[in-house]
């Protein structure tokens, strides 16, 4: 490749500076500055009014050793990720495959499954209360049980994840359905001619061609799991078994409590977990491009 020196005119430079400069400023101001500020604040004790006091790693010690909601929040976030990733997402794929076979009334099923996606998770939270409430909930009324679905801290996270998955399945389904429609029918035909049965042709031929879709779905699943907030907040403000890291951050910083240093420390933990996934994902992506 021939090396050519490029010369930018003054106008080019202006355009470049404005175009790039705005982006850089927005990026620094809205992403990097708050991130670094929160890492900095996580080492302090500050109530938002008085002086900021440096306490070093004290907040991290307090939250890991003496703040019981923290570990249940970490556990719940991981459960959430596992449940969406291992149960809801495969089920969404399964529904997409079924619908792709042009069943009778497939449009109806498709709409029914996709309907919850247009609802905000906060609304799903309200619906979940109508279903699970121990006194007036549909579930107990129909089954005759007296389980306190939302109040019992050993079961509530599971039923709430089911409600969250109800929405997630539709979302994943529609993405896979679009992907499946784009798969060249000739591939399946060729596989059939080569003697592959349905299962083989799906797992060996169709699924690998869905790779780009898989990546998108994976990213969506991780994002959904880490940003989960509204559904538990709508149900019981994310307490008593429904703790999530995002809720604890809000609870400590935004509320009247204003434990800004302590809340920032929780936010930093959430950042570290998110970075783990983001870095893995990006490094995968770049490796392939090369």
């Amino acid at each position: 490749m021939a090396v050519r020196t490029r010369r930018y005119s003054a106008r080019d430079m202006t355009v470049l500076v404005i175009g790039l400069g705005v982006a850089v400023i927005v990026n620094l101001g809205l992403i990097w500055a708050p991130t670094l500020a929160s890492i900095g604040l996580s080492g302090t004790d500050w109530n938002g009014i008085g002086p900021i006091e440096w306490v070093g790693g004290q907040n991290y010690h307090d939250l890991s050793a003496e703040y019981p909601p923290f570990w249940s929040a970490v556990r719940n976030n991981l459960l959430w990720l596992g449940f969406l990733g291992l149960v809801a997402t495969p089920f969404g794929l399964f529904c997409a495959v079924l619908l792709d076979r042009r069943l009778r009334l497939s449009r109806v099923y498709q709409s029914a499954l996709y309907m919850p996606v247009v609802l905000s998770l906060a609304v799903v939270g309200f619906i979940a209360q109508l279903v699970y409430s121990s006194d007036y909930g549909v579930l107990n009324a129909v089954t005759g049980l007296t389980v306190d679905w939302l109040g019992d801290s050993s079961v509530n996270i599971w039923v709430v994840m089911v409600a969250a998955a109800w929405r997630h399945v539709g979302y994943v389904m529609i993405i896979y359905l679009a992907g499946l429609k784009a798969v060249d029918p000739a591939l399946k035909e060729a596989a059939a001619i080569d003697g592959a049965n349905e299962r083989q042709s799906f797992f060996r031929v169709v699924f690998p061609t869905l790779r780009p879709v898989n990546v998108i779905v994976l990213v969506i699943t991780v994002i959904e799991a880490l940003r989960a907030f509204d559904i538990v907040y709508a149900i019981n403000k994310g307490r008593n078994g429904l703790e999530l890291l995002s809720v604890l951050v809000t609870e400590n910083i935004v509320g009247e409590a204003s434990r800004i240093g302590f809340g920032s420390a929780i936010a930093v933990i959430l950042l570290a977990i998110s970075l783990g996934f983001i870095v893995t994902y990006l490094s995968q992506l770049f490796r392939e491009e090369r």
Binding site: L30, P34, T35, A37, S38, L41, D45, N47, G48, I49, G50, Q58, D62, E66, Y67, P68, P69, S120, A122, G125, Y132, S133, S134, D135, T146, D148, W149, L150, G151, D152, S153, N156, R227, F229, D230, Y233, A234, N236, K237, R239, N240, S246, V249, T250, E251, N252, I253, V254, G255, E256, A257, S258, R259, I260, F262, G263, S264, A267, L271, S274
Partner: protein
């Protein structure tokens, strides 16, 4: 509801940096110039930051302010919970002259930070209208007054008279009688004590009253102030007694709201309910006369029934007020018995704080409530108003919920509260 809150990490960080949040929130409030308040006197304009976002309190404040002729008034109403959650940033940003707030520790906390103006001069004029208990709750740690009480409501054990007459129950005077009554109700197939703690705060009422009955008001306030240890045997005794009562409490409380528990009382499924007088909201108009209450029974004769929870709502003057003279004049008006009677007429769950207020228009329940409070030597403000807000919301709510879920594990729970307390009160 959740959507109004900044939910992503970045937004939170922005919030932490206090960028424009207070301004934005105040901007969200509806600017309602008080109707009829335009006949301005010589004191300019007074702005009021109000958390009275519900229909009745909002109408009540508007009507009270209508009588103010010395200055024009402007009420900025913000959603009740939003107002509360953003109070820090609001007071440091561009607050209104007068703002609605709560008495006790919650008031002292902001007075101490220099976010409120001393109104001792106003109190020299209005002082005679209030009892000493109300004055104490309006006084900062420096001995000056920062708060004008407007209305309050007592906490007590509520029940339906018709059900109790039918079954022949009588209000108990001691804890033993209380337990015996609960046992009888259970035998009669009624859940003795309605209970709900999904929202996290109602259980605080039970803790408060048990602690005040068993250890007295002074210990309670000192515990709330972070000066006593939560692993103290006296605190342990409170939880132990509470655990003994748990078998009479409505089960599955952590999945129930107080409204649902109130409904169960109204439907006679439960026998009694320890709650604020606002439980009346869950009763249909026709059944209101059937609602009665007794104060939580005596546990230790040394303290009798001398203390109750009766949270007081009122007004404060922000440190950044632009029109201090006008605002003080307005505070004097809001302290008037006639102003407070407007509130008690509109809301049957409220009582007027002024002792000069006209009680002839009170409902039977309101009259009984006023009588109960006048008999109490000490008035506490409720756990989340008597202690630091961060301790109440991030430590006590999860801890009490843990206790309600697993009442048998008291010692590890108290040790955990004590450790977290040490981190907050440092």
């Amino acid at each position: 509801m959740a959507q109004r809150l900044p939910i992503s990490r970045r937004n939170l960080l922005l919030g932490a940096a206090a960028l424009g949040v207070p301004a934005a929130l105040v901007g969200c409030g509806s600017d309602t110039p008080a109707p009829g308040g335009t006949a301005s006197g010589n004191l300019g304009t007074v702005t009021i930051g109000s958390n009275a976002s519900d229909e009745i309190p909002k109408r009540s404040l508007e009507s009270q302010v209508k009588a103010f002729t010395q200055a024009t008034t402007k009420i900025n109403t913000v959603d009740h919970n939003t107002f509360q959650e953003n109070i820090n940033r609001y007071l440091r940003g561009t607050p209104d002259d007068v703002f609605t707030w709560f008495a006790g520790y919650r008031m002292q906390f902001f007075a101490e930070q220099g976010l409120a103006i001393d109104i001792s001069d106003v109190w020299r004029e209005i002082g005679a209208d209030y009892t000493q208990a109300f004055k104490d709750q309006s006084t900062g740690t420096d001995g000056k007054q920062y708060f004008v009480p407007s209305t309050y409501y007592p906490w007590a054990v509520f029940y339906r008279k018709s059900l109790w007459q039918e079954k022949g129950y009588a209000p108990p005077a001691t804890l033993d009688e209380f337990t015996a009554l609960a046992r009888r109700m259970k035998a009669d197939g009624i859940i003795p004590i309605a209970f709900a703690d999904k929202d996290g705060w109602p259980a605080m009422g039970t803790f408060d009253i048990l602690n005040m009955r068993m250890n007295g008001y002074d210990f309670h306030i000192s515990l709330m102030g972070g000066k006593e240890s939560w692993t103290d045997p006296r605190v342990r005794r409170v939880f132990d007694t509470w655990r003994g009562l748990m078998e009479f409490h409505q089960p599955a409380a952590l999945g129930r709201t107080w409204q649902e528990a109130g409904q169960s009382l109204a439907q006679k499924k439960t026998g009694m309910y320890l709650l604020g007088m606002f439980v009346a909201q869950q009763f249909p108009e026709a059944d209101l006369d059937d609602l009665d209450f007794f104060t939580f029974p005596e546990v230790d004769p040394a303290y009798g029934t001398d203390s109750i929870d009766a949270p007081i709502d009122g007004y404060m003057l922000s440190a950044k007020a632009k029109n201090v003279d006008g605002a003080k004049a307005l505070l004097k008006l809001l302290a008037q018995p006639s102003s407070q009677n407007i509130a008690t007429k509109l809301d049957p769950g409220m009582l007027a704080a002024s002792s000069k207020a006209d009680t002839s228009g009170y409902s039977a329940l309101q009259k009984r409530g006023a009588e109960l409070v006048s008999k109490a030597t000490h008035i506490a403000q409720f756990l989340d108003r008597d202690t630091r807000p961060d301790f109440a919301s991030t430590v006590m709510i999860p801890s009490l919920q843990t206790f309600v879920g697993k009442p048998d594990e008291i010692d590890p729970l108290l040790a955990s509260i004590e450790k977290q307390k040490a981190n907050i009160f440092r």
